[in-house]
Amino acid sequence: MAKMVEVRDLTRRFGAILAVDRVSFSVGRGEVLGFLGPNGAGKSTTMKMITGFLAPTEGTAVVCGADIVADPIAAKRRIGYLPEGAPAYPDMTPRSFLRFIAAVRGYAGDEAKRRIDLAVARTALASVMEQPIETLSKGFKRRVGLAQALLHDPDVLILDEPTDGLDPNQKHEVRTLIRALAPEKAIVISTHLLEEVDAVCSRAIVIAAGRLLADATPVELAARSRLHNAVRVSLAAGHDEAETALRRLPGVAAVERIDEAGDRALLVLPRGGQAIVGEVTDLVRTAGWAVRGLSVERGRLDEVFRTITA
């Protein structure tokens, strides 16, 4: 897999604040990298350095072979960037704005028109093309920002919180678009929404207070959860008796009671993340409990996230 973005020891200080502290990672074609972290973790600052807006205090990023510090213009040509909040000139219309972007990127005439039409079709902007951007809804403004980032069909897309502030339908549309683009490109999206990682990302990195804390696939990350391979058993009756019996199983570390809005169940936690569903179902069968539900937990990203970044 060709490395399209290589981030090397990227560091940025703001006076006394160390906003980004020696962060390194790389992204290949076909990957959608989720960049996770709580607010203030340094996600935006990292993206601003990769896209050449901010000069790194130390380190660099190489985009499709072009070093953003040594050869910023060549690197910027290969990147489509959606800054946080999707800024765009408020008194321009999407059409004049996209024409400007096309011209800056060196397209004229039919070529510019073709590219604008394609970006507009991909982001479903056609209905608002002649309306000043300042009068557009948040969802449309975000799409204008995405259309701008896609216009030159870049190899690398850097999207800073692309779905922040959108309603569920709009979020779904943006995620569908990202998935559709993924095979051809290297994509980095920052987010603090964990559902987004499950929905679109092939890999996730977690940063907090400027430091890289994890770099793994969503499945690997979820496997670090305390809840990974836990079994949730809900019985018609006799939870007390079952709890004692389950606790005696060799693979079981603990049993917790769940009482969510009257829906009672037992959560059986495994020792060292091992698979215990076999043991549990054997016990259930021999004991002859009346089971209403039984399910295996994959592990919860939000819980892993809280543990890592705490």
Binding site: K48, L54, A74, I79, P83, P90, M92, G106, Q148
Partner: protein, 244 residues
């Protein structure tokens, strides 16, 4: 070169998408007229020239040019579009130059629209049109110098009002630095070398020299150097302040 042109076009067009352009041009023409005909006694002087008209340009620019320059960078920083703008594949040099040229072209349009004054004076008498042409060129150069100061200072802040006030103050200092009041204040104590430097920075002195009808190389070079210096400062300030 290409990106300078693209940026120039967008910026110039953006003046006309808001009422600013029309308000500016109307006020510029109205004030130029009022100053020339009422304060400058254009008719009573009985002379066929545009001296009363050009005399007031430095003072008009002092108020109006900061209004043209204030939005150039402050607005980009305020709305966050600077992040979009400076991650496009353009050099900081073409960004700074493109914006400046757009504002300067706008000032040139406003100045060109004063042509009725020129027609009037040619109807009434036989002015030296060479002197008038030189004065127009001098006025445009002076406007460029004011604009370059304003553009650089507008990169210092996100607040356009602050950009306006600071630019007006800076332009005032450059305008009056050769005046008898300032020089009289300096003469008792300052070394002659310093007085000469201060006096030579005066926009008024250089503009008055041009208005006499000859574009002396040093006067033109002076304004061009001011423009170059402040455009350079503009690029440095943008780099320093863009992240704030």
């Amino acid at each position: 070169m290409h990106s300078t042109w693209v940026i120039f076009r967008r910026e110039l067009a953006s003046y006309f998408t808001t009422p600013l352009a029309y308000v500016f041009i109307v006020i510029f023409l109205a004030m130029a007229g009022a100053l020339t005909f009422f304060v400058g006694n254009f008719f009573d002087r009985g002379q066929a020239d545009l001296l009363p008209f050009f005399n007031y340009h430095p003072w008009l620019y002092l108020v109006l040019i900061p209004a043209l320059a204030m939005r150039l960078w402050a607005e980009e920083r305020k709305s966050g579009t600077i992040e979009l703008f400076l991650t496009l594949p353009v050099s900081i040099g073409s960004a700074v130059f493109g914006k400046f040229l757009a504002a300067w072209a706008f000032a040139a349009i406003a100045l060109a629209l004063t042509f009725p004054f020129w027609i009037t004076v040619n109807v009434l008498g036989q002015p030296d049109n060479g002197v008038i042409l030189a004065s127009y060129i001098g006025s445009l150069l002076m406007a460029g110098a004011f604009l370059s100061i304003g553009a650089a200072l507008s990169a210092l802040t996100k607040n356009q009002v602050i950009a306006f006030v600071v630019t007006a103050a800076a332009c005032f200092i450059f305008t009056v630095s050769g005046s008898p009041i300032v020089l009289g204040f300096l003469t008792p104590w300052a070394p002659t070398a310093l007085i000469n430097v201060v006096a030579s920075l005066s926009f008024l002195t250089h503009f008055n020299a041009i208005m006499r009808g000859v574009i002396e190389v040093p006067d033109a070079v002076f304004f061009v150097s001011v423009i170059a210096l402040f455009l350079y400062a503009n690029a440095v300030i943008v780099e320093l302040k863009k992240a704030d």
